[in-house]
Structure formats: structure tokens, C-alpha cells
Symmetry: C2
Subunit: 431 residues, 2 copies
């Protein structure tokens, strides 16, 4: 098929009429499909059901050290859970604090602490006229929501195939002391799926921040979430890289088992330098006497170690891979020739990204919505929900079953085509 | 025996010499006993071990509504858990948000939200020159640590047998708009064990706060924690009382199953008005996608309903009652005649309070410590750890076994006597 960009106005109108008929038929199907949620499917969750049997009323609910896990205490988590989390993100257990079921909550609290108390003796951020965060884009909407909720100014930094634009990161971090943080998803990034190159990690580690309380928020959410376990991405350990570069306190790293075992009932962790950890615990002891240690033990007994994690994630990969490939294959077949945008080929993580022609993303999402297919909201991968070129659409293929994915993909492709033609016709009119 | 206050100097010196010999013998026993921790004993925790069997790999992990509890979502908790929490604190399920394992964390966040964002449109507390909390004393040290951590000024309010001094509370709350909150443990108060009378609750509900964002922090931590289940205390439901008084938004109520099932792995809840709840959820959705719903289901399946809770708590009462009575009986027998202080007779909760003669508490605690018995730190039941009269000692009898309690009680009584005599001799010298 001819690229839309090469079609005459009449050809476009003809194609549009055909697509509109198709679209009307799709709308008449009264679909209710949701492609917006980065959630595991029931089949993925089923793989962790044996975890419900590892602890029973006959199990001594004690840690290796002999602590009664039913009672209060152990603020930073049991040793065996620290080891598990550390193995997942390639760091040392002594760097780790084990939290409750949501790593997002840790990130929120890390910023909340800095707002109220500063970091390691710095001025509390609430007392500053200006606090800024760098936001590699496209990125994770919930990160941006946290910083927005604290009134922190967010600055877009382009995310390339190998990580954020490090020239820009260095320029900001090393010169502007109101820049206090940067959001990073270093592996299988949400939503584009890229992993940071070794060079990028090294440049991060070697930043010379103008602000002593600048922190890299290193959300290693997809550390073991390979779609192709035989050709998995590896990233450098940021904590040791920072240490070697003489910046040991510059990074807070986060991870969780939310998309390993049960999304709603996992354990999460933070890893950081001894000084940062001590400060986090100083604040944490005001808030709680400790997190759920029985669930920590449950995870350790079920996952055991990194081999256990990798084996489980390989089974999950087998379930999600066909879902990613369904969309990518159809994009390749049905959209490659049309000059209507591009898409990612992630090797891990939870998302596909479709990059439409300029000014089309919002319209594609609206058209899909009207045909009963919910996509992640337009602009979501950008701070303040403002996608400057209106091109980025996050696609979450893991949750729906294959037949629904196929239907949703049909709708999506039709909407891409319709929106692209509409834009081309508009642009032609405007000339 | 003659009261110490009636003894001559020589009689006191004689008694002191005898006690010092006793004390030296106790020190020589090299005891390591801890009376400081409000923790359930292993036997109490054992009662909830069947909870480990209510969910297995064969259990459909779904809520009554059919939600897959393994996955993300359900920010305010599953309906059946809301019902359980509501029954415990005598409110309606629609008032409840179910959180993670620590009600302390909810209280921290409620204040954190107010600091950053104000309450229902009020000025964020960080922007105010002065923010004050009323603190009925003696009270719970961890409450005071939270307010202290935010730099909130704490004002002592005497706690009587029926609740806080309400004249003083009304005076402050109704006239000073920098008074933004009050900490309350309305039932089986920590540490004195008193419960608020209906009149006190009604006076709370009928406050006319100078500050629109004044909130009562109603920590109903011991709602079902009776020591004598046949003669249990009942308190009025503050939420409906506030509603009836035209102050529907004035209270945040908290509770948890921490001292019902497993202290470290329970569920917690907040109950409040629809407007407050909506605001809490607006902030909560920035922090997390939801708390551990599987643990919510586990608790519902195990405890079932209020009858289940009461049955479990009656078994716990049978375990803790002898521990409280051991101390009280020995105080009655060995200290009643001596004029060396008074003690509480709690009908519920987790603590005994010993009120020494003025200026003796710190010394008693130090002497006990040197003899190997750790008591809660001197001053802990007061803001800034400052017990103005140096008289209040919190005793936590639930954790240690009976033989250890008996030993610790021997040490404690000896230390009370020694410190009392020392103070009398000092006072005599100073005359």
C-alpha cells in the first residue's frame, strides 16, 4: 500500500471513507476493552499461587535470626528479604530497606522527607523558592504525579534509545542548585522499554550536582521483567558506580515484587548508601514500627533466590511475549508502509509505545475510546499531561486475553489511520 | 508496715539499709528483663496461627464483588474489610479506608497531608507561623514523636479518670486558631487505661473550633482490648456524635488489628466523614495503587465479624489478665501502706501506670535498669519526654512470661521503695 504521505487529496478521501465505514462497524460491536493498565494477567498471577501455601499454621514464623515475625519490630526488614531484594537489583543486602507492598509509597516518602526535613542537613525543600525535578520523557505518569503533588517544577528531558539526554542532564544538575532530583526507570523504561547504556549510567554516577541534596530517583521497577529472557538487558549497578565516582549518597534506588508475585500484595525495597539509609530509617521510625515481615518471609520462601525469581519471570515472559508480538506484528504488517508513525520493540517491561505523526495521539485515543477501547490518557507519559508534539501513546498489552488484544489492535490501527489522514487533510487545507 | 512518710529519719535509714542489701542481691542475679514493650506475648500470637490456613493456593483470591485481590487496585480497601473495621469501632463501613499494617502510618500521613496541603482548602500548615496540638497526658509517646517531627508545638492537657480536662480543651480549641489537633486514645488509654465518659465525648463533638482545620485524632487503638470482657468499657461513637453536633468533619478515627491478630502483619483503618475521606483518598492515590488486599481477605476470613473478634479477644484477655493482676496484687500487698505512690487498675488496653511520689520516677527507672529490668523511659508519656512532676511510669506487662514478670515486679517494688526513701531523706535535709 502507498504511504498516506504520498497520496493525493482524493486518494486520502477515498481511503478515509473506507476507514470510516470500518470504524462504524467497530463501534457497532459495542466493545469494552482496556489497553491502559500496566497490570499482570490472571494467568501471570496464577503462577504465584503456590506462594499461598509456603506458610501455614505449622510454620515457625521466625526469621533466620530467630525473631518472631508475628510481633512488632525489625524496621528495615528481615535479612533474608534484604538479600532477595538486593539480588534482584544487583546490590548489597546492607544497602536495602524492605518496605510494604508499594515502591511508589517509598518514593513519595523520600520526597516528603526532603520537603519537610531536607536531606542530610540541607534546607527543607518547602523552605526553598524553587525546587525542580528533571523528567526524562516519555516517562511514568505516577512519578510525575508525585512531584506535581508537592509543587515541584518538572522539566522535560528527552529520553533517547540509551537513556536520558545526558548533555542536558549534566547542564541542569551541575549548574542549577534548585534541581533536586531526576526520575529514572533505567531498565525497560516505562513506556518506551529502553535500557540505559553503561555510558549513561557512568555519566549519572559522575554528575557534579550544584545541590548537595540532589538525588537520582532510580526506579528499577522492571529489573527482572524480561520479555526475551535469552537476550536480556543488563544495566550497571548505579549504587556502586556512584560510590566509585565519589558520589555515594547521590542515588535512591527502588524496586518491588509487585509484577513478580502479586501486584497488590508484594514487598518493596529501597537501596541506598549507609548515610541515606540511616536518615531514611530515622524518619521511618516516626511513621511505623515495621512493615509486614510475614509477607517478607512468604516471598523469601516462595521465590528463594535469584534463580527462583528468574525461573518465575521466564514463565511470565512466555505469557506476555505473544501479547507484545501480536501488536508489533500487526503494526509491522499493517502500518509499516503508511508513514503514520513508529513503535517500540521492547525486550522487557510492561509497555509498548506508539509514536504517531505529530498532532495525532490525542485524536487516536479519542477515536479508540469512542469505539470502546480505553488507551492510557493522552499526554500521560509527560509532566502535567502535556505531550508537546501530541505523538506518544502508551500501550499496555499484558492484562487482556489474546482475543481481546486482537480486537483492540484492530480498533487502534483503524484509529491511527483515520487520525493520520485527518491530520494530513488538515495540513493540506492549511497550506 | 508504717508509711514511709510517717517514719523518723532513723527509721528511714534503717529501712534503706535493708532495701539496699535486697537491691544488691537482685543486681547480683544478672537479670535481663524488659517491661517496656507494649507487645503481645507469643501465646497471644499463637491464638491467631489458624489465620495462616484460611487462604491457600486453592482459595479464590477474590473479593465478594469479584475483584481479583492479587492484582492492583481498590484504593480504599475491600468492602468486607471495611465492614470488619467499622464493626470494631462502631461506625459505618462507608466511613472507612483500610490501610496497611500500621495505623501509626495513617496518623503520620494525615498530619503530613495537612502540613503540605492544608485540610479541605485551608492553608498548608507549613505556611503557618504556629501550629499546635493538644496532648492529653500521660499519653502515647509515638503520637508525640509524630507531632514533634513536624515541628508542631505540643501543649499538655491533664488526663483525668473520664478523659482530658475538657474545660482546658474547649478553652484552647474554641479560641486559638493555631490549635489544629488533639491526640486522643479514648478507650483504655495508653498508659493509664481510662476510657472517655459519654459527657467527654459529647463535649468533644460540640467543640466550636477557632480553626476550620482543627481535627481530633481519635486513636481507638484498644477498641476491643478488654482485660475483663464481662465488664467492658463502652465509649460513644465520636463520628456520629460529631455529625449530630454539626461538626461532621472534625474527627479522624484510627484503629488496627495489630494487637488482635499479628502486631507486625495486621490491617489498619481510618474512619471519617465523606468529605475527609474523599480528601484522604485524593492524597492517597498519589502515594499508592492500593494496600495489601490479600491480607485484608485473610483477616476477614479468620476473624469473620465482631463475634469472631470478641471471641479471640476474650482468649487474649485470659492470657493477659493474670499478668496485670500479678503486678496490681503485689502493689496492693506490698506498697499500699507505705505512701509511696499509686497505680492504675485498668480494665483494658496494654498498660499499667505507676504514679510515684513527686520526683521519684526517673530514679526508680534508673535503679531498675541497673538491676537488669528495662522500664519505658522516664518522661516517655509526655511531649518532649518531659514529665513535669517526674512521677509517671508506664508498665507493659503483656510480653514477658509470669515468672519473669514476678522477678521484674520484685525489682520494681524494691526500686520504688529505695527511690521514695531517698527522696524523703533529701526533702528532710533540704528543710
Amino acid at each position: 500500500m502507498k504511504a498516506y504521505t504520498e497520496m493525493t487529496r482524493n486518494e486520502l478521501l477515498e481511503e478515509q471513507a473506507l476507514l470510516q465505514a470500518e470504524y462504524r462497524e467497530l463501534c457497532a460491536m459495542d466493545l469494552h476493552l482496556d489497553m491502559s493498565r500496566g497490570k499482570p494477567s490472571a494467568e501471570q498471577l496464577d503462577l504465584s499461587m503456590p506462594m499461598m501455601d509456603v506458610l501455614t499454621s505449622k510454620t515457625p514464623l521466625k526469621s533466620r535470626k530467630g525473631t518472631d515475625l508475628r510481633n512488632y519490630g525489625v524496621l528495615d526488614g528481615i535479612d533474608e528479604a534484604k538479600e532477595l531484594i538486593a539480588a534482584m537489583i544487583d546490590t548489597q543486602p546492607e544497602n536495602v530497606i524492605v518496605y510494604g507492598n508499594a515502591s511508589l509509597h517509598i518514593m513519595y516518602e523520600a520526597i516528603g522527607n526532603a520537603m519537610m526535613h531536607g536531606i542530610l542537613g540541607s534546607t527543607p525543600w518547602v523552605k526553598l523558592d524553587s525546587v525542580k525535578f528533571l523528567c526524562p520523557v516519555p516517562g511514568y505518569d505516577r512519578h510525575f504525579t508525585i512531584t506535581e503533588s508537592f509543587g515541584i517544577e518538572m522539566i522535560n528531558v528527552p529520553l533517547t534509545e540509551t537513556g536520558p539526554d545526558m548533555d542536558m542532564v549534566e547542564e541542569y544538575v551541575n549548574n542549577d542548585e534548585s534541581v533536586k532530583g531526576i526520575w529514572c526507570v533505567p531498565k525497560y523504561s516505562n513506556p518506551t522499554g529502553i535500557s540505559y547504556s553503561d555510558e549513561v549510567v557512568q555519566r549519572f554516577a559522575n554528575l557534579k550536582p550544584a545541590a548537595s541534596d540532589f538525588r537520582i530517583f532510580w526506579d528499577n521497577a522492571y529489573c527482572v521483567h524480561h520479555i526475551y529472557p535469552e537476550q536480556k538487558d543488563e544495566i550497571l549497578d548505579i549504587i556502586s558506580a556512584c560510590e566509585e565516582a565519589g558520589n555515594p549518597d547521590m542515588v535512591y534506588e527502588f524496586c518491588s515484587t509487585s509484577k513478580i508475585t502479586f501486584s497488590g500484595a508484594g514487598i518493596s525495597g529501597m537501596a541506598t548508601s549507609p548515610r541515606n539509609k540511616e536518615e531514611m530509617l530515622k524518619h521511618l521510625t516516626v511513621k511505623t514500627i515495621g512493615f509486614d515481615k510475614i509477607n517478607q518471609l512468604r516471598h523469601v520462601k516462595f521465590l528463594k533466590d535469584m534463580d527462583g525469581v528468574e525461573a518465575l519471570m521466564a514463565k511470565q515472559a512466555a505469557l506476555v511475549r505473544p501479547k507484545f508480538e501480536l501488536w508489533i506484528d500487526r503494526f509491522e504488517k499493517e502500518l509499516s508502509d503508511l508513514d503514520v508513525g513508529s513503535w517500540t520493540h521492547p525486550r522487557g517491561g510492561y509497555f509498548l509505545t506508539y509514536v504517531s505523526n505529530e498532532g495525532c495521539a490525542k485524536n487516536i485515543i479519542e477515536l479508540a475510546q469512542q469505539a470502546g477501547v480505553v488507551m492510557t490518557g493522552a499526554g500521560a507519559p509527560y509532566p502535567y499531561k502535556k505531550d508537546p508534539r501530541d505523538t506518544v501513546i502508551r500501550i499496555a498489552p499484558t492484562l487482556p486475553p489474546m482475543d481481546e488484544l486482537d480486537q483492540a489492535c484492530t480498533v487502534f490501527i483503524t484509529c491511527v489511520k483515520l487520525a493520520s489522514i485527518k491530520k494530513l487533510l488538515e495540513n493540506a487545507t492549511n497550506l
